[in-house]
């Protein structure tokens, strides 16, 4: 029996109210993150992956959004019932965050050092001097050359990759138990992305913190994640251990995602595609939301929401034909999707 997970999300639901009425961006999402585990949250635009992270952190604007959840257990506390004050203490404390845009997440008029020291001194009562030293230490840790000088730089003096390293340093400043990284490498070049993923893995191996890595790239998942949660149109399509997901995808969407990414080996004339487009949140299909694009769809798929079916250890898929899919993947030349 495993230990209690560091983060357990149950029945998370998020709706937005706007001019076009109310849309459900995240619909009944549940997953666990264990200590020291990297969970990859993958999905395309509108899948609700970023909203999920913001909802967990209580960072969605209260005026236009409503977040409900059965439970969001973090480190023995239910975040779904936590007060604003408690949430503020957790954010940047036990839960660190990194966002996609390394430019806009740093304040352009404050020095790197101040932005690094401030969160440390909010969460811990230590002197400026001690916080400064901690900042230098953190910058060293994230691989920033001449860290003492960098403390006095402004964000615009650093490159995108360096800024993202600073963001990681800020997120690490209070030794979080959980790091939420929302597309941390999407805006960066491929060589810099590789450096940063290596860095995250290194730090994770050292500190044993848990990471939720939000991404749209199967490659990033393949590089880093221990466990994968695949999201589609606000719901979880499939979740499971990373090798199981890659070897025996239990959902046609997961399988399609992997097939339509061009590979570096082989020479197919055409790419396998997923037909159609992502559904609009204001006009969601009934039943399985992937059904209109799915090659395996049956009338039953449109009848109701498919339940999560277990297809392996900790591996579950929201597809009524999941067993077939997994079985076909076990044979080398399985049935095509």
């Amino acid at each position: 029996m495993q230990k209690e997970p560091i983060l357990r999300v149950e029945g998370l639901r998020t709706t937005f109210t706007g001019d076009e009425g109310t849309v459900v961006a995240v619909d009944d999402v549940s997953f666990d993150v264990n200590e020291g585990e990297i969970v990859g949250l993958i999905g395309e635009s509108g899948s609700g992956k970023s909203v999920t992270a913001l909802a967990i952190m209580g960072l969605l604007p209260k005026s236009t959004s409503q977040v409900t959840a059965e439970r969001i257990m973090f480190d023995g506390r239910n975040l779904a019932r936590a007060s604003d004050r408690e949430m503020r203490r957790l954010r940047g404390g036990s839960i660190g965050m990194i966002f996609q845009e390394p430019m806009s997440s740093l304040n352009p008029v404050l020095k790197i050092g101040d932005q690094l020291i401030e969160p440390i001194r909010i969460h811990e009562r230590i002197s400026y001097r001690a916080a400064f030293d901690r900042g230098v230490e953190l910058l060293t840790k994230v691989g920033i050359p001449s860290p003492v000088q960098r403390m006095n730089d402004y964000p615009h003096q650093l490159s995108g990759g360096m800024r993202q390293r600073v963001m990681i340093a800020i997120a690490l400043s209070c030794s979080p138990k959980l790091l939420l990284a929302d597309e941390p490498t999407t805006a960066l070049d491929v060589t810099i992305q590789a450096q940063l993923l290596d860095l995250l893995l290194e730090i994770q191996a050292e500190t044993k913190m848990a990471i939720v890595l939000i991404t749209h790239s199967m490659g990033v998942i393949a590089e880093c994640a221990d466990k994968v949660v695949v999201m589609y149109s606000g719901r979880i399509a499939e979740q499971g251990p990373v090798t199981d997901i890659f070897d025996r995808p239990g959902h046609p969407y997961t399988k399609g995602l992997m097939q339509c990414t061009p590979e570096l080996t082989g020479n197919p004339r055409r790419l396998t595609t997923i037909p159609g487009a992502l559904p609009s949140l204001s006009a969601l299909p009934p039943g399985c939301r992937f059904a209109p694009r799915c090659g395996l769809a049956q009338p039953a798929c449109e009848a109701g929401r498919p339940p999560m079916i277990g297809v392996g250890q900790n591996h579950a898929s929201a597809c009524i034909r999941a067993d077939e899919l997994v079985a076909s993947a076990a044979q080398p030349e399985g049935a095509e999707v």
């Binding site: 706007g18 001019d19 076009e20 849309v23 961006a25 635009s45 509108g46 609700g48 970023s50 909203v51 992502l278 559904p279 609009s280 949140l281 204001s282 006009a283």
Partner: protein, 297 residues
Amino acid sequence: MSSLEMNDSRSEPSFLSRFFEGRRVRRLIRHRSFMIGLWLCLFVTVIAVLAPVISPVDPNKMAIRSRFQPPSFEFLLGTDNLGRDLFSRVAWGARLSLAIGLGVVLLNAVFGVLLGALAGYFRRLDGILMRLSDALMAFPSVLLAIGIAAAMGASAMTAVISLAVVYIPRTARILRASVLQVNELEFVNAARAAGAGDFHILRRHILPNCMAPLVVQLSFVFAYAILSEAVLSFLGLGAAPTDPSWGIMISEGRSYIREAPWMTVIPGMAIAITVLGLNLLGDGLRDVLDPRVKMEH
């Protein structure tokens, strides 16, 4: 989180709905201060249009026997020092104010767009045109209008021209900024790659996408023009003294402010209602059409 667009089929859009798409109209209708502004403006417009019908008497008809009548059932808004009916004068004054405001707006639309487009698109003209507008904008606006009006002699036409000169640089600047912005968008490059010339690009691609800030700006120019016209007329530099202008009415009422306060209060309220209406309208348009320029004015 970008696919909140609608995919349902729609009827063919008319010209108006190209600019005020359905969702924008819905947002405007729900915008409370816009609707208040709209009703106020409609109210003033109806009064102005129907002035000949609803005025009980000729606005310039003097009646010495009924001088300084306070508002009553007989004289709805009272009479002035020459016994002229204030209700008729305010109604006709609305015509004059709206006509002058409209004139300034039209001149602004034509020359502001022309100069703004030239400066924003043909970068070689930018320096000289913008320094020129800087020079004009360096003067306090009313002072400049007074100067021009004084030089040209008082008349309604003078008021229109001088106020247009004051506000055109401002409109041109706003248009220039939008032109610069739109010019950076890829569809302009696409048109260029297709072989389109400058005129075509300006007319088909750039200007239609600059309309939102222009409409917002013009609604404010309208309000300022009416206010400034009143100032000019008050100083005797606007409409001819015989015209029923709100500014002149206030100016005349000034001497009798103790005995007959309604002589100044009534046209003052007319100005306030019109300018308030236009400003609320402009705020609403800005919120819905052009949320970026909130910092202007």
